[in-house]
Amino acid sequence: MNEVNLFLLNLAIASLLISVGTGIAGTILKRNVVKKVICLGMVSDAVAVLLAFIGFRVKYPSLPPVWLFKEGDEVEHALRVFADPLPQALVVTSIIIGVAFTLFLSVAVVKFYEDYGTLSFEKVLEEVEGEVEEGIE
């Protein structure tokens, strides 16, 4: 791997880590639940790309892991240059879980907004505690 490529790889990983960090910070700090969901999506995508990178560790240039009747020397060559398929399977799984999860969150946010007319669940939950204190609940 030459120096330019190494630099680009490091840059990519650094920017992914930064977006994971930004996403986490947003999920915790934003009060608007739609923004929380968007930040969660950011983390989810960055994690997926990071996982895909793990499949390409140390091997560069690499080929897609497709086995087309290789024999003899070709087998050894293939094993040297193939990207690891396992992390890619993990990425696909985690993307699918992410889709399902985002769908659930979206439905829950809509229901929540219909009920309370606000997008801050913290506000609503604080009200709950207040009401119980007064013995209304």
Partner: protein
């Protein structure tokens, strides 16, 4: 030790409820409610029956192994049931079944029709069985997400503010899940395998800075799902707002999964990892003190129980840092707490539904009006206090002894002290419920299904109190042999 592979019963335990969910959707499209109900019971009963079978075979001395597609680890997904897994599978599925029996009575408070509640209960059961049996870090992530997403949905099904609590849990739970996925991937990158037999937390932590961060991330995300202080912030809202049967399965079953996975990863818990062990020990002790004090000031009766869950999680994590003895004591405590807390939430839910308030002062004397519920409720609370005939006493004493022998004097002290403080809250709760009624409360008719659920759980608790001393020994032996089992299973499959 006899390793049986393949054991299709493990596959059935995990997949039967999921397959039933697909059929439920067909029933939903056909608008056939009785078919949906029949399918729901069919799925759950199959799972319960097969998990009884698994537990029996495991106790006959077998270790059950099932590799999907016959693929060996690290590429394949392998389910393994040793004795610890057998006991936890049976206990968890029993609690889910009992709560499902009680579910019918609470369906009227739900936002959606019964099919949604059925479907998510089945998915929850499936996710739990998966978490208990699987031996692969990434599959743990998948099963944990199945368990957690169905938990969020179960909470949000109740009308009212439950959806806010579910969102709070879901947003942070999603974050913890992603951290688990990322750490699984990095562990694979560093270690070349995610199979529990090949991964040791201490080994990964010794692989430089990245390894340390990954272990920290894994332990944090798992402790989030178990609501270890300070990641417990979602629990009091989520567990108090959910409908009673769901509070029961969340507080009883879902909460022990994070801890259980850590035990499956490493039989001695975190005891041999210096920094991690002291960090968890500090958090657990701080959490125990915080939760015990927080219990005292609650007026919402379900929040008292929710904070008691945080307290018991802290106890369980204390055991995680006290060697194999501590871990087996913690496993027993997780088990006694699961049954006791599920029973407490179910029976309190019954009283709360009758009175229409969760305020402890409004509930004054309400317990006396329903003595048939008050008896199991009292039993479950005495179990949580740790009064002698109940299994909670044995588990607390075993945990105390393990902490003392391991030299964690401060933890043992905190255990005794916080048990004392928490006992005040439990007694306060009982005092309010046993108080002569201040105003007339309508005497409810306890439906037969509801009494089945409550008394079934109480019978399970009595059974546990009979076997709990021998269970500690069984857990201990199983934990010592755990790594050998993983290696044997890998050999047998490949």
């Amino acid at each position: 030790m006899q390793v049986t592979s393949p054991a299709p019963s493990l596959c059935v335990v995990v997949l039967a409820p999921v397959i039933t969910v697909f059929m439920l959707l067909v029933a939903k499209v056909m608008r056939n409610d009785s078919l949906a109900t029949a399918l729901f019971w069919g799925g759950l009963a199959t799972q319960l029956a097969v998990s009884v079978l698994v537990a029996l075979r495991v106790f006959a001395g077998e270790v059950l192994v099932y590799a999907f597609g016959g693929w060996p680890p690290p590429a394949g997904v392998v389910l393994i049931a040793n004795r610890v897994a057998g006991v936890f599978l049976l206990a968890g599925i029993t609690v889910v079944f009992a709560c499902a029996v009680a579910l019918k009575w609470f369906l009227r408070d739900m936002r959606d029709d019964s099919v949604a509640a059925y479907a998510f209960t089945l998915l929850f059961a499936s996710g739990y069985a998966g978490v208990v049996l699987t031996t692969d870090l990434f599959n743990i992530y998948v099963m944990m997400e199945l368990l957690c997403i169905s938990s969020y949905a179960l909470i949000s099904l109740k009308k009212g503010r439950a959806v806010a609590a579910a969102l709070k849990y879901a947003v942070f739970g999603g974050l913890a899940g992603l951290m688990l996925a990322l750490s699984a991937g990095v562990v694979y990158g560093l270690n070349g395998s995610m199979y529990f037999g090949d991964v040791s937390l201490a080994g990964v932590a010794s692989l430089g800075a990245a390894g340390g961060v990954v272990v920290l991330m894994t332990v944090w995300s798992l402790s989030f799902f178990s609501a270890l202080f300070p990641s417990h912030f979602w629990l009091p809202d989520a567990h108090s707002e959910a409908a009673p049967p769901f509070s029961a399965i969340l507080s009883g079953v879902s909460i022990l999964t994070g801890f259980y996975v850590l035990v499956r990863l490493s039989a001695a818990g975190l005891s041999h990892m210096g920094f991690m062990a002291s960090l968890i020990q500090v958090l657990a002790q701080a959490g125990a003190i915080y939760a015990a004090v927080a219990m005292l000031v609650q007026r919402d009766i379900k929040r008292v129980l929710a904070y008691s869950t945080v307290l018991n999680t802290a106890y369980v994590f204390m055991g995680l840092t006290a060697g194999v003895d501590g871990v087996s004591a913690a496993l027993l405590h997780a088990l006694t707490h699961a049954l006791g807390k599920a029973l407490a939430f179910l029976s309190i839910g019954m009283i709360v539904k009758q009175v229409g308030s969760r305020d402890i002062y409004v509930l004054e004397g309400a317990g006396r009006a329903v003595p048939i519920v008050l008896i199991p409720l009292t039993a479950s609370i005495l179990n949580l206090v740790g009064v002698p005939p109940f299994p909670g006493f044995v588990s607390k004493v075993t945990l105390y002894k393990a902490l003392m022998t391991h030299g964690s004097l401060s933890a043992a002290l905190v255990l005794v002290l916080t048990s004392g403080i928490a006992a005040l809250s439990y007694v306060r709760l009982l005092e309010h419920l046993w108080h002569p009624p201040v105003k007339r409360v309508g005497v409810p008719k306890l439906p037969l299904t509801m009494s089945f659920a409550i008394y079934g759980l109480m019978a399970a608790m009595v059974l546990l109190s009979v076997v709990c001393t021998s269970l500690v020994r069984i857990f201990n032996d199983a934990l010592v042999a755990q790594h050998t089992v993983y290696s044997l299973a890998k050999l047998v499959v490949s």
